[in-house]
């Protein structure tokens, strides 16, 4: 997309940075800085941990400059790193739920497509507040799938690749997340 607009693609910038172009990294950082930070912050719900992981993530990008091969989109690669750092964090903090929680598609089909309450549609601030609260209550894997879709604009396949699961699992997680969020936003009207 960016290449079509005459801008260097993420992959090209990363390769240029690998050859010593510091400016290329600055461009790359400015493009992905906020989405990645939001992803980590909302996934973890803790600013301190989010900052730590965010910095560590970018340091890994810096240190991988020489080995980077544009086999996949830069976004998929960098969010895969983020996912791996999250997994490490969960393991270190005893949050095994992320690994054990798997959804079945049969259950998924039964979920109702709840409507968002009318008053929330008018009161955006309340809607946002309730959405973020509902997001925090989601299982880690489902929240991650939703955040990846919102922040990185990745497809189901890309989300699956970044999180190391099959596409069906990624799709299932995403559907669960959306259904639960809608249900929370539609309850108290």
């Amino acid at each position: 997309m960016r290449s079509m607009r005459g801008e260097a693609s993420d992959e090209e910038l990363m390769l240029r940075y690998g050859r010593g172009d510091a400016r290329a990294f600055e461009l790359l950082y400015s493009r992905h800085r906020l989405p990645l930070y939001r992803f980590l912050l909302r996934q973890l719900g803790n600013a301190e941990s989010a900052e730590e992981l965010f910095q560590d993530l970018w340091m890994r990008v810096v240190n991988s400059r020489g080995r980077y091969q544009p086999r996949a989109k830069f976004t998929s690669w960098v969010y895969a790193i983020a996912h791996n750092r999250l997994m490490d964090f969960y393991r270190a903090n005893g949050r095994a739920s992320f690994l054990s929680h798997e959804e079945s598609e049969s259950v998924l089909e039964d979920l109702p497509a709840a409507e968002i309450a009318a008053d929330l549609r008018l009161d955006r601030k309340r809607a946002v507040k309730r959405l973020l609260a509902a997001l925090g209550e989601l299982p880690d894997a489902q929240r991650e799938a939703f955040l990846l879709q919102q922040e990185s604009e990745m497809s189901i396949d890309e989300i699956a690749a970044a999180t190391g699961v099959g596409p069906e699992t990624a799709k299932s997680r995403l559907r669960y997340a959306v259904a639960k969020l809608r249900a929370r936003l539609g309850k108290e009207s």
């Binding site: 940075y17 050859r19 010593g20 172009d21 510091a22 990294f25 600055e26 950082y29 800085r33 906020l34 930070y37 939001r38 912050l41 600013a47 900052e51 965010f54 910095q55 970018w58 340091m59 810096v62 240190n63 400059r65 968002i116 929330l120 955006r124 601030k125 809607a127 946002v128 959405l131 973020l132 879709q149 919102q150 497809s155 189901i156 396949d157 699956a160 596409p167 799709k171 995403l174 559907r175 959306v178 969020l181 809608r182 936003l185």
Partner: protein, 288 residues
């Protein structure tokens, strides 16, 4: 696989305030990235030295270490030798003649030990013995000794040093050292051809350290008049006791005598016995 986004939820999500990473985190990340990029941009020479510095240093260390180790080894092996080294030019000529025989156990080349055992009294006795030998042979031997001796002359002082140490243990006649010294001095003055030196001729005057013990035996043997060139059985029976009693020079003279009398078999047997008895002895050219 494409999953349509829930646009309604997405709109609400995007309305949320945008948290930003702290400035210090941004600074840290950008500084690190620039530091790394700065390293990448360094001149090619820096990269070359960085890439090859360690291997070159390791190679140089190995080279220097092995060189020093070799030098130390050579120094040690040189100092371990009891006797001084023969000059390189004459070394091969002296060592090569002693070829190991099939029936004889191999011994390491003892060249360096040859010149260190001068026994002046024996040399005097030997010369007197030679005088008793056939005139032609004696003359030839003496002439060749005179001509060749100088090649060993530079070694003589060191050999005498060693000898003097031995003589501290085995006291020799008081007149011996001056006689040997004068003989060596005479040989040095003659000194014509330094490279054509059969070791035995040179060593004869300064050779056997066991001469004082052997000399009486040799004279006793002469008194008994036993024929050295007799039947093979008798010769071999006599060889062992003779080897204990005869001086090497006397023994060689006997062998030479056998050869000149045409008793080549006996001479060879005697020579074999001699080599067994004195494996380190460098034979004169005519007996090799």
């Amino acid at each position: 696989m494409i999953e349509r986004r829930d646009e309604e939820l997405s709109k609400i999500y995007r309305d949320a305030e945008e948290p930003r990473p702290p400035q210090r985190v941004d600074d840290n990340i950008l500084a690190a990235s620039q530091r790394v990029a700065g390293n990448l941009r360094r001149p090619a020479t820096f990269g070359f030295s960085r890439r090859w510095g360690t291997p070159v240093a390791v190679a140089a260390t190995v080279l220097v270490t092995s060189t020093v180790a070799l030098m130390v080894y050579e120094l040690q092996s040189g100092s371990d030798a009891v006797a001084p080294q023969v000059p390189r030019g004459g070394r091969t000529a002296k060592v090569s003649p002693v070829e190991p025989r099939a029936d004889q156990p191999r011994t390491p080349p003892p060249v360096v030990l040859q010149p260190i055992a001068p026994a002046p009294p024996i040399s005097q006795a030997l010369q007197s013995e030679r005088a008793e030998q056939r005139p032609g042979e004696s003359a030839a031997s003496t002439a060749s000794a005179g001509a060749r001796q100088p090649a060993f002359a530079p070694e003589a002082p060191r050999a005498s040093d060693v000898l003097s140490k031995r003589e501290e243990v085995k006291p020799a006649p008081a007149t011996a050292p001056p006689a040997a010294a004068s003989e060596r001095a005479r040989a040095t003055q003659q000194a014509p051809a330094p490279d054509a030196l059969p070791a035995s001729d040179v060593q004869q005057p300064i050779r056997p350290a066991q001469a004082p013990a052997a000399a009486p035996g040799a004279s006793r043997l002469r008194e008994t008049g036993l024929p050295l060139q007799g039947a093979g059985a008798v010769t071999s029976r006599l060889a062992a006791p003779e080897a204990n009693e005869r001086t090497p020079e006397k023994w060689l003279a006997d062998i030479r005598k056998l050869k000149t009398e045409g008793k080549a078999t006996d001479a060879e047997r005697e020579l074999a016995e001699f080599k067994k008895r004195y494996p380190d002895y460098i034979l004169p050219e005519d007996l090799r």
